[in-house]
Amino acid sequence: MTSTLAPPTAPSSAEGAAGTRRPRPGRARRARGPRALTPASRVGLGVGVLWFSILALVPLVAVVVETSQGGWAAFAHALTTPQTAAAIRLTVLNALGVTLLNAVMGTVIAWVLVRDSFPGRRILEVVIDIPFALPTIVAGLVLLTLYGPSSPLGVNVANTRWSVTLALAFVTLPFVVRTVQPVLAELDRDVEEAAASLGARPFTVLRRIVLPALVPAIAAGASLSFARGISEYGSLVLLSGNLPMRTEVASVRILAYLENGDQTSAAAVATLLLAVSLVALVTLDLLQRTVVNRGTH
């Protein structure tokens, strides 16, 4: 953080909103002069947090509360209904598989983008970001034109389980690439040169020097990609056909429950999805930290 950059004698640096510049003296907690909140920035923070609560926190809490009102029995019942259980299993397994695929392919793509140079590399940069910007419904339509019933390749995955894998691979493509790429670009190549000059084979250099440095970034990208994978909806609407027990994912189940007026079951599945992505993000955050610590010792 930048706290070390702020000399204690300086006036308030929180100029986010107009107002008095005097830091509030004598606050019990660690009011370190320039970094303490001024009255104006206090108002700004209040407004910001209020808006964030109205927009995101209150609605998300409403989902969890709706689930808890049904009680444990209703929660368990909603999740163990065969159709819902099948949807959750399909979603989680596909998200895991695609995350694994991204961990490998994303790293390879990042390597090629950073270490290789060839005409058209800039175009690849754009291509990688397309899935992030393309509206999900358009992504589904796009995949359907190449891998649907009228495929010029003769490959038709529409309404099969492969369609789910394909759609998830499409929408999660940028995550690992974009987290690994900057780390790889910053990597000190002298260490690799030294290892190579000491007789290390390229594979050894890769395994012992390059990969350990990249693991935290790969893990971060993988966690984002998994969280995105289990929550995907838009790209599957046209592609997977939403066949119960076969190609129906968890998000589609939530929508189906909601359309049938069963808000409690919809909230139950939604709470599970929220919990799974939260666990994934926290686990990988911890994993990432231990790896980083190990790397510095």
Binding site: T2, A10, I109, I137, R228, G234, S251, I254
Partner: protein, 271 residues
């Protein structure tokens, strides 16, 4: 890999290009071809359909409002997160990233449960005061702002951290007001990060589908956005219109991304 063998290098290059072409490049180019299969007739036919025109106008209006909200919020919160200390800062910083990993369907459900017309927390109270959120444009803006919330913050925070506060403090010690410092010092130094953030937010907002589908009620000519129209027309076998509108959405989002990609390295010093 100081000396990767040319053979490995070439193989990896071919694998990567093939993977990206099969997964993204080729399918996207096919949509362009499907749209222009009969020249411009599909596109002009779609645009002259009043329902299509309405949905495009609604999408643009919603995206602009959501982007404006997220830009103001994003810049303000980024400044507070980077330049001040307060209790719960770490928590707030973590929570702001949450919308990126929440399913759009869950977002829609959450907004319906909190502000919906029946049996929700604030719905009845809002209805008494004549405010419709769900099945109305306000809800669409809310859902869209939710899903694209962190994008500006994620771009601006790293740059703010990197530039530090030396110049700001110099300006302040010379007597500049908070507002002057913001306009003359802080804003110019974060402007590219802000542009990226805004462009990404706009692209994401134009394309939101799942959350909007639940919140809007998908009423043709009233709350149907362009993405919802694509789905409906595809299901109604009006493929020409579906492809034309999808092409328009794709063109705008690809233009946004290309802009960001080509701006970024040219001003790499900002990062």
């Amino acid at each position: 890999m100081a000396r990767t063998s040319p053979w490995v290098r070439r193989t990896l290059r071919v694998v990567v290009v093939a993977y990206l072409v099969l997964l993204v490049g080729w399918p996207v180019s096919l949509v362009v071809r499907a749209t222009f299969a009969d020249g411009l007739t599909a596109l002009s036919g779609a645009l002259s359909d009043p329902t299509v025109a309405f949905s495009l106008r609604l999408t643009v209006a919603v995206a602009l409002q959501a982007t404006l909200l997220n830009t103001v919020f994003g810049v303000g919160i980024s400044l507070l997160l980077v330049r001040t200390d307060f209790r719960g800062k770490r928590l707030l910083s973590a929570l702001i990233d949450l919308p990126l990993s929440v399913s759009p369907v869950v977002v829609g459900l959450a907004i319906v449960l909190a502000y919906g017309p029946r049996g929700s927390w604030f719905g009845p109270w809002l209805a008494e005061h004549g405010v419709d959120v769900v099945f109305a444009p306000a809800g669409i803006v809310l859902a869209t702002a939710f899903v694209s919330l962190p994008l500006v913050v994620r771009e601006v925070v790293p740059v703010l951290e990197e530039i530090g506060t030396d110049e700001v403090q110099a300006a302040r010690s010379l007597g500049a007001s908070s507002l002057q410092t913001f306009w003359r010092i802080t804003l110019p130094s974060i402007r590219w990060a802000l542009v990226y953030g805004v462009v990404l937010t706009l692209a994401r907002s134009l394309g939101e589908f799942g959350a909007v589908k639940i919140v809007s009620g998908n009423l043709e000519g009233r709350t149907q956005t362009a993405t919802l129209l694509v789905e409906q027309r595809y299901h109604d076998f009006d493929h020409a219109t579906a492809y034309a509108v999808a092409f328009l959405l794709a063109a705008v989002s690809v233009a946004c991304i290309t802009l960001v990609t080509y701006l970024r390295p040219a001003h790499g010093a900002d990062r």
